[in-house]
C-alpha cells in the first residue's frame, strides 16, 4: 500500500470515527456543539432602602438563568398531567398569591394553607412558608413538584421531560454550562426557578413610599392610619401593627400567634404551624408575619385564607383575637372606631405598588 493510500484510509477511518462519535453523542445528549458563553449577570433593580437579597454565592442571578427559571415557573411541564404550573397558584396579577383560600392541586385536592405572595420573596431570610419550614428558595422549589396536593409529579419524571424537550436543554446549557442533557437535574431546575423568584421585586413606587420620601402627601385618612399603625402620636389609639409589620418590607418575618384560633390547650391548634418546625409547644399556632406590601392585591388573608377582606382583618385585630396561652401580648382589644379601622385600611391600600406588573421579565413567556 502506498503512503498516499494509507493516508486516505487513515482519513476515512478518522472521518467515520468522527461521524459515528457525533451520532453517538447526539444519542448521548451531547450539547457541546451549541456555543457557550459565560452567562451575563442579571441586573436587578432593588428599591432604595430595601435589604440585600438573601446571599447565595452558589446561585448568582444571570440573564439566561432568570429566563430559564421564568419558563419553568410558568410551564405546566412541572406537573404530572401537564395542567398546572407554579403560576397556577402564584398568580402574577394577584401579587403572585392565589385568590382562593386554599389552592387545589392537580388532583383537585385542596391543601390546608393559602398560597402566599411571592413578591419580594428573595429578601426573606428567616425561613420560608408560613411556618419557616424551609430555608432557601432553591430548596423550596423542590417541594411543590412532588407535593400530592400541588403538582404531584416526581422529579425523575420531570428531569426526563426536560431532557427530551426541544428547547430546555439548550437553555440549561446557556444558564449553567452543562455539556450533556443528562446533567439536567432538579438541582439546576430549582436553581433557575429560585433565580426567577428573586427578581419578583416590588416597592419604591407605592403611595406609602412616595409619601415617606416627601413626594406626595398622605390623605388625612391614610395619615391617621399611619399614626395608629406605627403609634406615632397619643392623639389616636395604638393599633400595635408596627411591632410585627415594620421595616422596608413591612414585616419582621418573625413568628407570632396573632390570635386567629382560641384553644385552651396548645396541642389543640388545627395547624400547629411553627411548632412543628421547632418542636417547642409555645410555638404551636404561630405563623410568620407576612410582608404587607401589596396586601390589597393578595386576598384572601392569613395562613388558611380565612379572611376575604381587609375589613375582616381589621375586625379581627380590633377584637383582640382569640385566647391561647401564647397569644402575643401585643394582640389587644384596640377599641378602634369604624372610621379608625377604615383609616388603617386606607393606609394598607397605600402599600400597593403595581409597577411590578409592567416588568416584562415577570410575565408568562408562553
Amino acid at each position: 500500500m502506498s503512503r498516499v493510500q494509507l493516508h486516505i484510509i487513515g482519513c476515512l477511518l478518522l472521518g467515520l470515527l468522527l461521524v459515528s462519535s457525533c451520532r453517538k453523542d447526539k444519542d448521548n445528549g451531547d450539547l457541546t456543539d451549541i456555543p457557550y458563553d459565560v452567562p451575563e449577570p442579571y441586573n436587578l433593580d432593588i428599591p432604595e432602602g430595601f435589604p440585600d437579597l438573601v446571599a447565595n454565592s452558589d446561585n448568582p442571578l444571570t440573564e439566561p438563568g432568570v429566563q430559564l427559571g421564568r419558563r419553568l415557573f410558568y410551564d405546566p411541564i412541572l406537573s404530572a398531567d401537564g395542567t398546572m404550573s407554579c403560576s397556577s397558584c402564584h398568580k402574577r396579577e394577584k401579587g403572585f398569591a392565589d385568590d382562593v383560600p386554599t389552592s387545589l392541586g392537580i388532583d383537585g385536592i385542596p391543601g390546608t394553607r393559602h398560597a402566599m405572595s411571592l413578591l419580594n420573596v428573595g429578601f426573606f431570610e428567616n425561613g420560608l412558608n408560613w411556618d419557616g419550614s424551609i430555608a432557601t428558595l432553591e430548596e423550596q422549589a423542590i417541594e411543590p413538584v412532588i407535593n400530592p396536593v400541588e403538582l404531584h409529579d416526581d422529579w425523575g419524571n420531570v428531569e426526563e421531560k426536560l431532557r427530551n424537550h426541544p428547547d430546555y436543554p439548550e437553555r440549561f446549557r446557556a444558564a449553567f454550562g452543562i455539556s450533556n442533557k443528562s446533567e439536567i437535574t432538579k438541582e439546576l431546575a430549582t436553581k433557575a426557578i429560585a433565580q426567577f423568584e428573586k427578581i419578583i421585586v416590588s416597592g419604591g413606587n407605592s403611595r406609602f413610599d412616595r409619601a415617606l420620601r416627601g413626594e406626595i402627601f398622605f390623605t388625612d385618612s391614610e395619615f391617621n392610619g399611619y399614626d395608629m399603625f406605627f403609634d406615632i402620636s397619643p392623639d389616636f389609639p395604638d393599633a400595635e401593627c408596627g411591632h410585627c409589620h415594620t421595616g422596608p418590607l413591612l414585616t419582621t418575618n418573625d413568628y407570632f400567634n396573632n390570635g386567629l384560633d382560641g384553644v385552651d390547650d396548645l396541642n389543640n391548634f388545627e395547624d400547629i404551624g411553627r411548632g412543628a418546625v421547632t418542636d417547642y409547644i409555645f410555638d404551636n399556632g404561630k405563623f410568620r408575619a407576612p410582608s404587607l406590601r401589596n396586601i390589597a392585591l393578595t386576598a384572601p388573608y392569613m395562613h388558611d385564607g380565612r379572611f376575604q377582606t381587609l375589613e375582616e382583618v381589621l375586625d379581627h385585630y380590633d377584637s383582640g383575637g382569640h385566647y391561647a396561652e401564647n397569644l402575643d401580648p401585643l394582640i389587644l382589644n384596640l377599641g378602634l372606631t369604624e372610621e379608625q379601622k377604615q383609616d388603617i385600611i386606607n393606609l394598607l391600600h397605600s402599600f400597593t405598588d403595581t409597577t411590578y406588573l409592567e416588568n416584562p421579565d415577570l410575565t408568562n413567556p408562553f
Binding site: D52, G247, F282, E325, D328
Partner: protein, 260 residues
C-alpha cells in the same frame, strides 16, 4: 540574561522573601491577649427563669414570653485603662431560656484579643449609644445586632433598648392568662450604664475568662418604692408621651436588676 542567571536570581529573590517573612513570625507568636465570655442569666427569685413557664405574681399566675436587651461598649477596666470586649450585641433570652437547661446556661457575649492582665472592673451600656442610635436597621446587614427591623421603633427614631413581655391572670380564674403586659423602652434619654467595680478578672494566656452576670426579672417591674408593678395600671409601657416617668424608671430598674 541566560537561564542560569535567571534561576539563580529567582532563587536568591525567594530566599530573601522567605527570610523576611520568617522575621515577622516571632512577633505573632507572642501571646499578649486572650478571650472572655460574659454570660448573662435571667433569674426569677434567684432561679433560672424559663420563658412561658407560669410563676406566681402577687398570688396570680404570670409568664414572661420575651426578654431581650441591647448591650453596648462592654469593657474591662484596669485603673484608668479600658479593654474593649464588645461594641454592641443583642441578648435575646428567647434563644436560650426555652428549657431549664438553656435557662441555666443563659446567653454568652464573647470578646477576643483582650490584653492579658488582671482587671478590677467591668462596664457596659444598656441600650444603643446615641451615635449608633442615629442609624437604623437599613444601615446594617440583617445578621448584625442592629440590623433587626423588629428591634427598631420608627415613631421614636430609636432602637428599642429592651423588651419585657408576657401574660398574666387578670381575673384570677386560675386557668387563662387572658391579660398581657409589654414594656418596650428606647430613646437616648433612657440609655443607661452599668458598672461593676472591685472585681478580679484574670485574662490569662490559653484560658477563656468567665464572668456570669445575673438579671433578676422581678426587679425589672418595680415602682420607685420597690413595690411590684400593678399590671392593670402599668400594663403597656412604650416610651410614649402618655407613659410619664415609667420608661426611665424601667431603664433604672434594669440597671439595678444586674448582679454578679
Amino acid at each position: 540574561m541566560n537561564y542560569r542567571y535567571l534561576s539563580i536570581f529567582l532563587l536568591l529573590a525567594s530566599i530573601t522573601l522567605l527570610s523576611t517573612s520568617c522575621e515577622k513570625e516571632p512577633d505573632g507568636d507572642v501571646v499578649e491577649s486572650s478571650n472572655i465570655e460574659v454570660r448573662f442569666r435571667a433569674l426569677i427569685d434567684g432561679q433560672p427563669m424559663v420563658l412561658n413557664e407560669r410563676y406566681d405574681y402577687n398570688g396570680k399566675d404570670f409568664t414572661i414570653s420575651s426578654l431581650k436587651f441591647y448591650i453596648s461598649d462592654l469593657v474591662l477596666v484596669k485603673g484608668a485603662l479600658e479593654a474593649n470586649v464588645k461594641e454592641i450585641d443583642f441578648v435575646d433570652f428567647g434563644t436560650s431560656n426555652t428549657t431549664a437547661q438553656g435557662a441555666a446556661d443563659g446567653v454568652v457575649v464573647g470578646g477576643a484579643s483582650i490584653p492579658l492582665g488582671t482587671y478590677d472592673g467591668l462596664k457596659f451600656g444598656l441600650g444603643v449609644p446615641s451615635d449608633l442610635n442615629n442609624e437604623d436597621p437599613t444601615d446594617f446587614s440583617s445578621n448584625h445586632p442592629l440590623g433587626a427591623d423588629s428591634e427598631y421603633w420608627l415613631a421614636w427614631d430609636s432602637y428599642i433598648f429592651h423588651k419585657v413581655e408576657g401574660r398574666y391572670d387578670g381575673d384570677n380564674n386560675a386557668n387563662d392568662l387572658e391579660s398581657s403586659y409589654v414594656y418596650h423602652v428606647g430613646l437616648d434619654e433612657n440609655f443607661r450604664e452599668k458598672t461593676f467595680s472591685n472585681l478580679e478578672i484574670e485574662i490569662a494566656e490559653d484560658n477563656t475568662a468567665q464572668v456570669v452576670i445575673d438579671i433578676e426579672v422581678r426587679d425589672l417591674m418595680r415602682e420607685a418604692n420597690g413595690n411590684a408593678f400593678d399590671f392593670e395600671a402599668v400594663g403597656n409601657i412604650h416610651s410614649a408621651t402618655g407613659d410619664g416617668s415609667y420608661p426611665g424608671l424601667i431603664a433604672d430598674n434594669w440597671v439595678n436588676a444586674f448582679s454578679l
